[in-house]
């Protein structure tokens, strides 16, 4: 039921979607786009070169090409965005579905847990987990995946509560569907729209969090290129070699902007009040 006219008329969706699509393309095809190897092509003779024809984003103190490192860094950032949101959404939707559908004690217990999660600042929580598990990309997935599911849980629960009382769910009950079938075939597909929006916006947040954690030295470890890590190492050299911080910073900025625009556009697109043209 994709409506091409509607997508084109939604500028946010179009622009955000293009940026996200582009970023994913860069991450997937990194070996073909990067002009040098991000790790092994180090030449101290070419240390801290400003942007020129061969190093379009300049080089870092080890003489590695910043452009190639930004391109490969997309893999880290986007994988953090996607993996953490898959974990978040899975946890949030499962708990929200149970809370909303089963109600009573289940609802109280799950909502209590969700409110506790919401009361702890995500940064502090993620830092605590990272401190316990140690630095590294895999631990970032776990830390950010386990701490940020409260919003999708609440959204799912709220949606389930409204869908649960719809006529088609009542009809399913009357026709003898099991609770399992009602939850998964009747309710789940009808609550996923808003959850998708939350997940998109959450991915932007997770990319920023990863950059922050990498900046603090807890993320992907050198020499793996990551945007946050590159920013951290460029910090002291900002006045000597500004290109080292500007380009990874721009990469974070554009990707996060794209995801946010995409999420907003998706929300507008899925909003039933925003029907532009409807046949019959």
């Amino acid at each position: 039921m994709l409506n091409i006219h509607k997508i084109i008329s939604q500028k946010n969706l179009l622009i955000g979607g293009s940026i996200v699509f582009l970023a994913i393309g860069v991450a997937v095809f990194a070996p073909f786009i990067a002009t040098f190897d991000p790790i092994t092509d180090a030449d101290l003779m070419l240390s801290e070169m400003p942007p020129d024809d061969s190093f379009i984003f300049g080089t870092d103190p080890q003489g590695r090409d910043v452009f190639s490192r930004v391109v490969y860094g997309a893999r880290v950032s986007l994988s953090v965005g996607i993996v953490t949101q898959v974990i978040n959404t899975f946890i949030g939707v499962s708990l929200g579905l149970v809370a909303g559908y089963m109600g009573s004690r289940w609802d109280d217990a799950i909502m209590g847990l969700t409110n506790i999660m919401l009361s702890i600042p995500v940064v502090v929580f993620a830092l605590a987990i990272m401190a316990a598990l140690g630095p590294g990309l895999f631990n970032i997935y776990i830390a950010l995946g386990l701490t940020n599911w409260a919003y999708s849980c609440r959204i799912t629960r709220a949606q389930v509560l409204s869908v649960k009382n719809s006529d088609y769910v009542k009809a399913a009950k009357v026709l003898g569907y099991s609770h399992f079938s009602i939850m998964f075939s009747q309710i789940l597909p009808n609550v996923l729209g808003p959850v998708l929006v939350i997940a998109t916006l959450g991915a932007a947040e997770a990319i920023l969090m990863e950059a922050a954690l990498s900046f603090l030295g807890l993320g992907a470890q050198p020499p793996t290129p990551s945007w946050g890590g590159m920013l951290a190492s460029a910090r002291e050299l900002f006045f000597i070699a500004p290109w080292m911080s500007i380009f990874p910073g721009l990469a974070i900025f554009i990707t996060v902007l794209g995801l946010n625009l995409f999420g907003d556009g998706l929300r507008d697109y899925l909003d039933p009040r925003n029907v532009l043209k409807s046949k019959d």
Binding site: M1, A171, V174, G176, S178, S185, P189, N190
Partner: protein, 329 residues
């Protein structure tokens, strides 16, 4: 018609809702029998407890606030009120099925209609996906949807109200239930479609031999389809009997007034300023029912004794019951 053991036997069914304002007795001591292959009409105005009765039979009253406090519902000799949820899931849609008055919203908007029919079959029968789709196609043919092979892949939004109600009927009858409960199945449809849907239900009923519990406030539908009728008012059965005696010789004042308030097409009203007759007053508040007859405050023939004590349902002649002190056969 055999006078053996009824297929469905409801006795003294009483369903209440606990609300902050007090206990609402939505259904009060309702009893009736449904024989195999029979159509029983349940008539009454909004809020008279028709739908709650139907949902009580399927044990789908939300609890809390709702509660079935008394009575028995015997289906095939088994009291459904004594059984657990998993037994009822096997009954619902399989042995007793139901269609609603809201065809526009009773289908899952994100599922193809063929899949929805097939899903019902898979809930109750151990069949492969392909086989269930095949049976869904057969059902679409049975409910006379044109181009069923193509319509199988339609989403609900691509269908009109009448078509969706046909799909609902197909879903309800997919497992050949013994009883079909039709809760005002044509209220939301326009008149020509109403007629088609009624004919369809009647035809399928004759074909499959299932019994129908027809809930409606349309007396014309009852006259057309039902063999037996129960009239409900304020949660109680006020009159029951076979369709001819109810229509020819209504005994309860409420039934008499109901029948008189049917508009007759073509009757001249201009000259004599004859207005359509209505029943004065309002249905009593279920939270605050009068001590005596529930119909007392609207009854033109009310007497002093009607107010003082509750009126019992009396058997006035064989298979003919009425809840009124002044009614005589």
């Amino acid at each position: 018609m055999s006078k053996n053991k009824p297929l469905l036997s409801v006795r003294q069914l009483t369903t209440q809702f606990n609300t902050p304002a007090g206990v609402v007795p939505a259904v009060r001591e309702v009893s009736f029998d449904l024989q195999d292959g029979e159509t029983l009409g349940v008539v009454g105005e909004s809020g008279s407890g028709k739908s709650v009765t139907a949902l009580s039979i399927l044990r789908l009253i939300h609890s809390p606030p709702g509660r079935i406090v008394k009575g028995s519902i015997e289906f095939n000799g088994v009291d459904l009120l004594q059984r657990d949820e998993s037994y009822l899931q096997k009954i619902r849609g399989n042995s007793i099925s139901m269609i609603f008055q809201e065809p526009m919203s009773s289908l899952n908007p994100l599922m193809k209609v063929g899949e929805q029919i097939a899903e019902v079959i898979r809930q109750h029968r151990q069949v492969s996906h392909a086989e269930s789709i095949n049976q869904a196609l057969e059902m679409l043919k049975k409910v006379q949807i044109p181009a069923p092979e193509k319509r199988l892949k339609d989403y609900p939004y691509q269908m009109s109200g009448g078509m969706r109600q046909r799909v609902m009927i197909a879903m309800a009858l997919a497992c050949q239930p013994r009883i079909l409960i039709a809760d005002e199945p044509t209220t939301a449809l326009d008149v020509t479609i109403q007629c088609q849907i009624m004919e369809l239900i009647q035809g399928l009923k004759e074909e499959t031999g299932s019994a129908v519990l027809m809930i409606t406030h349309d007396l014309g539908v009852i006259a057309e389809m039902a063999q037996k009728v129960i009239v409900m008012y304020a949660g109680q059965v006020v009159e029951s009997g076979d369709v001819y005696s109810i229509f020819d010789n209504p005994l309860h004042p409420y039934t008499q007034l109901l029948l008189r308030s049917i508009p007759v097409l073509g009757r001249r009203t201009r000259n004599r300023r004859e207005k359509l007759q209505e029943i004065e007053g309002m249905v009593p508040n279920l939270l605050n029912l009068p001590r005596g007859c529930s119909f007392f405050n609207r009854c033109p023939q009310a007497q002093d004794q009607c107010r003082r004590q509750a009126v019992e349902l009396r058997e006035i002649s064989p298979n003919r019951q009425v809840r009124c002190v002044i009614a005589t056969a």
